[in-house]
Amino acid sequence: MDPVKITIDGKEVVTSKGKTVIQVADELGIEIPRYCYYPKLSIAGNCRMCLVEIEKMPKLQIACNTQVAEGMSVFTQSPKVLAVRKAVLEFLLINHPVDCPICDQAGECWLQDYYMEHDRQPSRFHVGKVHDRKKTIFGPNVVFDGERCIKCTRCVRFCQEITKTNELTVVNRSDHSTIALFDDSVLDNPLSANVVDICPVGALTDRDFRFKVRVWYLEKTPSICPGCSTGCNISVETYQNRIARFKPRINEAVNSHWICDEGRYCFHDLAGGERLSTPLIRQEGGLVTATWEQALQAVSTGLKESSSLAAILSGRNTNEEAYLFAKLIKKLRADATLEVFYQERELSEVEKILVSPDRSPNFRGGRDMGVNSKDGFDGLMRRLLSGDFAAAFIVGEDLTQAADPEAVRTALQKLSFLVVQDTRVTETSKLAHVVLPGTHFGEKEGTYTNRKGRVQKLNAALIPPEGALQDSEIFARFLELTGEKNGYGTPQQIFTALAREISAYQKLTYDSIGAQGIELGSAAAEHHDR
């Protein structure tokens, strides 16, 4: 890249040819307001919010479409620039309903933010506003309010350029321009809800999230999507100890700016429903509540007495949990068959942009930790269905969803001893001899290793219900019962232990994983070797 020297607001900077003014300003942390510009989409240049003054140019130029040139001097704070921002904001707001009190975008709206920053003048528009369609359903996840729309076309370009599904377009002319679906089309592609994230205003809102909670009440926890093994970086946004929504976190090595709809809404299935809050032990007449001591004892005894053991760990369990689980099972029965739950399905072309064919975000990490067997999960299932095992320890999965439910139920019923550790009552747990209430992805800290071998960090966004224990703590308590004096406590301590033991992870430290994760065997991983 050819170096180019330019000046922005008097600050000299050497950058490279081909970059635009807005890109260079972003790199320098100089904020140029924008609506239509989005780094992952083509340049539209229609909002005119990013107009800047450039020396020797008679007109103001849009920073998003102006490439840097040697000696260029850019002013982002000159009186002309400040005046035009005010003017553009006024134009964008004259026909806007200013219905913030009932708008779901309030609190994260770029009209609100920029108005406070760049405009702050009372309305001079004393004629009738243009009316447009309200609460128009665009698709299963997205609803459109035409009056709030500023026609930046980010959503249109997303569907043209990212998913290439082309559901949306602009129709009509002048101030009646509006976004619309093509005839007979519905915005239901696998990435559809991303248009809500990139919509800078309240025009596109999330049908699942809207009206649930004001965004300023949300607590945001950086984490990893539990939907599949792509490992999209997300922010888990919670209110009153419940997940309100997932939002994507930018990670160019994994998911760029996007997450899929399936991942976005998977928390309903994974974290919803009534929780198990006490261990249960089967007695005559069914499952009855028990203390943790009783339950752990019953499991230890039951498993030791069984002749052959299948141990199935959920793909949503962390590396730290998998490490302890493998240790525990091998200690209980050296001949046990361990596997991570794994199932594949067909993906459409649009899904392939992000989605992996499984629903086991940490299958690779779990197997790295020793939860693996020669014939894989399919082999284990075949053996289970043909009655090869006498006992099973199943964590976090309803096995009846992995194959023909009747066949699975029959096979599980034949077991002499079945332990199920889960967060809810499932078809599988109903058949268990001991049920242990554990935790789900939203309640734990730890690491996942995605399909491509990137180790990424989960953070606890929720407090587990009283009576349930962290999965890692359950395994640790078992290990203590078996006489192992482990002293593992926090996920960090467990990670340090597993990094010592598992060669692929040897170069890693918990801290080096950071917010963006780290690739196994990468230069970055080597770099952090300490």
Binding site: N46, C47, L60, A87, R173, S174
Partner: protein, 425 residues
């Protein structure tokens, strides 16, 4: 003055190929393709001083020279026949009466940039002109004037007449290209410019009908003959379409630099019915209106009209006499621009309608004096801040009407009705 564009306009059946050819038609095209190199041709047109007649007045030869010669992409020549500017009807006359001149000019320009496909993008409403052009193209194919290996030169050229679907903005060259590509008629961002990234992303030149129609004469008589006419910077002749309160409306061909006042009073017979002139728009609806005293010393060339505070534009002269309510006239124009804004960029999409609504309010007796400064402010907030020149085209006339006829606007606001019509009553 020798006429160039309208030299044969009264010849019966001029639209037919034999008639056109017997009047000297296609002599230039034959000479160009048989004996001129594209670069020579471009130099000749540069030397003629011909400037774009669509409104912007950009030197034609220079526009051609921006097309990269080494590009591996196909190149396109587009004739902009989307004449839609209110008050402008000069191209229509050429296309209806002398379609072969337009076509010959298109062929010459296509050859200059070595384009093998030329488009004539014509305003859809001009149905008769469409027929005439389509017939002309068919005749030219038949006669071997267009097609493969013309005159054994090895040069191929196809011409496609494309009808627009009805939007003023498609006369703006990049919107025209979007429309021709099959997309919404939305202007494109510049850079990149059409010369390098035009139609379908390929090098493209867009020339106006009148510009192209001047080429056969220039190539026939030589650049020097053309450059000998007109002023220092505005060479040759130009068509003016005159409408409104004028005794003899119509299309006139004038040598550049012709005195405006003399033109209106002598050539066009002045304002009829003994009325006085109140204002005149010199270059189509998007150009600032001028007061009678402002045109006293104005000549009809790019520089002189600009010095007077307006622009020559397309040469669409709209004459308004003393019975005209300037509030109503301004509102009428504002309504046109509000309706035709493509809606792509914020200042134009929102601002044009806002101005229209305020003009509407004033016209209907509900305005306030502060509205006038508000319109001026909106207008200046649009000017220069939009994707394409449409924003300026809407903002300039709105501001000009208020600045030049402020007294009338204020009287209208105070009286809460039209004072001009009241005086007449």
């Amino acid at each position: 003055m020798e006429k160039i564009l309208l030299r044969n306009i009264d010849v019966p059946n001029l639209h037919q190929l034999p008639t056109y050819e017997s009047a000297g038609g296609y002599r230039s095209w034959r000479r160009v393709i048989e004996s001129m190199k594209p670069a020579e041709l471009t130099e000749e047109v540069k030397a003629s001083g011909l400037r774009g007649r669509g409104g912007a007045g950009f030197p034609t030869g220079m526009k051609w020279s921006f097309v990269p010669k080494d590009s591996p992409k196909p190149k396109y020549l587009v004739c902009n026949a989307d004449e839609s500017e209110p008050g402008t009807f000069k191209d229509r006359l050429l296309m209806e009466r002398d379609p072969h001149a337009v076509l010959e000019g298109t062929l010459i320009a296509a050859y200059a940039i070595q384009s093998h496909t030329a488009f004539i993008y014509i305003r859809g409403e001009l149905a008769f002109a469409v027929t005439r052009l389509e017939n002309a193209v068919a005749e030219a194919y038949q006669a071997g004037l267009i097609g493969k290996n013309m005159f054994g030169s090895g040069y191929d050229l196809d011409v496609i007449v494309h009808r627009g679907a009805g939007a003023y903005i498609c006369g703006e060259e990049t919107a025209l290209l979007s429309s021709l590509e099959g997309s919404r008629g939305w202007p494109k961002l510049k850079p990149p410019f059409p010369a390098t990234h035009g139609l379908f992303g390929c090098p493209t030149v867009v020339n106006n009908v009148e510009t192209l129609a001047a080429l056969p004469w220039i190539l026939d008589r030589g650049a020097a003959a053309y450059a000998a006419m007109g002023t220092e910077k505005s060479k040759g002749t130009k068509l003016f379409s005159v409408s409104g309160h004028i005794a003899k409306p119509g299309v006139y061909e004038l040598e550049m630099g012709y005195p405006f006042k003399k033109f209106l009073e002598e050539d066009c017979g002045g304002v009829p019915n003994g009325k006085r002139l109140k204002g005149v728009i010199p270059g189509g609806a998007s150009m600032p209106v001028l007061r009678p005293e402002e045109i006293e010393k104005v000549n009809l060339d790019y520089e002189s009209v600009q010095a007077a505070g307006s622009l020559l534009g397309s040469g669409g002269v709209i004459v308004m006499d003393e019975t005209t309510c300037m509030v109503q006239a301004a509102w009428n124009l504002a309504r046109f621009f509000a309706h035709e804004s493509c809606g792509q960029c914020s200042p134009c999409r929102e601002g044009c309608h806002w101005m229209e609504k305020i003009f509407h309010r004033i016209e209907h007796g509900e305005g306030e004096t502060a509205d006038l400064d508000l319109i001026l402010n909106i207008s200046s907030n649009i000017m220069g801040n939009t994707i394409c020149p449409f924003g300026d085209a809407a903002a300039m006339p709105a501001a000009a009407f208020i600045k030049k006829f402020r007294d009338e606007f204020e009287a209208h606001i105070v009286a809460r009705r039209c004072t001009v019509r009241r005086e007449l009553e």
